[in-house]
């Protein structure tokens, strides 16, 4: 995937949260070989300086970081968080989350568009966590976003691609815009399906961190990206409503049923 002039080394974007230990996180990143890892900001205590140790670990992984505004419910809060993230992580990239619904962690699309506009004007390169809504997508692009990150399903739900029709429509409506399926992915088959539909990348976290064997699952997701993309590029056959025999019928022996 290419976005904001950057060629991602892999279309797999991986979250860094919820792993059982820093070692499992590091091993999973090595196995998944993601094009970027997502990170966040939290209050730091001078006594523990936990963030400093985490930063050392992430920096040593040698993978570009995509900071998020996770947990932000308001435009001002998201913008301020993005400004702090830019300073701490030294990047203009921001995975913009403005959450509207607590139960489904569904984006507040109105706040999202407003925050995206403010951040773009301030020099940020915004990766908006959005839904499959076409109108919101149009507004985000008008606000200056050069990439869209529609959800597959609610964050952490592992339900895969919840609205196939809506996602297909979004993909078809903006064929030139790089799109990342962000959130809701639970299995490698979900990733393969996303690529077969023409999406450019996937962003996932829980599906690896909470797998029985996170390191093996990270590798499975890396391979699923490859499988799905190759399948898309190879041009899948059209679906039919009726069976069509694949074995030639001509010359078949006439035998008693």
């Amino acid at each position: 995937m290419r976005a904001y002039g950057h060629d991602f080394a892999s279309p797999l974007l991986l979250g860094t949260a919820l792993y059982d230990s820093p070692a499992v996180l590091a091993d999973s990143v090595r196995a998944g070989q993601p094009g970027a890892v997502t990170v966040s900001l939290r209050r730091e205590s001078a006594g523990q300086l936990a963030g400093q140790a985490f930063w050392t670990l992430v920096r040593d992984l040698g993978v570009p970081v995509l900071p998020n505004t996770a947990g932000c419910h308001g435009v001002r809060e998201a913008v301020t968080t993005a400004q702090m993230a830019r300073e701490v992580f030294g990047t203009n990239w921001i995975k913009l989350e403005v959450i509207g619904s607590g139960d489904l962690l569904q984006p507040d699309l109105f706040g999202l568009v407003e925050a995206a506009r403010l951040l773009t004007e301030d020099g940020f390169q915004v990766f908006p966590y959005t839904t499959e809504d076409l109108v919101a997508a149009e507004r985000l692009l008008r606000a200056g976003c050069e990439v869209l990150m529609p959800w597959g399903a609610p964050i952490g739900s592992g339900r895969g691609l919840n609205n196939l029709f809506g996602l297909r429509a979004l993909r078809a409506h903006f064929p030139e815009i790089p799109m990342v399926i962000d959130a809701g992915i639970g299995r490698p088959s979900h990733v393969a399906a996303a690529f077969e539909m023409g999406f450019d990348a996937v962003l996932l976290n829980t599906a690896v961190a909470k797998a029985g064997d996170p390191v093996a699952m990270a590798r499975a997701f890396r391979l699923a990206c490859e499988v799905g993309r190759l399948g898309f590029e190879a041009g899948p056959m059209p679906e039919r409503d009726m069976a069509v025999p694949s074995t030639p019928t001509l010359g078949r022996a006439m035998l008693d049923a």
């Binding site: 860094t16 001078a46 963030g51 985490f54 998020n68 300073e87 976290n205 829980t206």
Partner: protein
């Protein structure tokens, strides 16, 4: 004077943000700050005066999805 640091009451001697951060033990840590909800960039810390009772937020890198 007393200020709120990440929602905890703290008594600090200095009135300048950069000095308060050093006093609190953040030294050269990779952090970002906001005062009363507004971002204060690192370049402004030397000249940023804190008022008694202000809310200072100090954040650092953390795991995220």
């Amino acid at each position: 004077m007393e200020i709120l640091v990440n929602d905890e009451r703290r008594d600090v001697r200095s009135g300048v943000l950069a000095d308060v951060l050093a006093e609190l033990g953040f030294g050269s840590a990779r952090i970002a700050t906001a005062v009363d909800g507004a971002f204060v960039p690192a370049s402004a810390r030397e000249n940023f005066r804190l008022e008694p009772g202000c809310r200072l937020e100090i954040v650092a890198p953390m795991q995220g999805g």
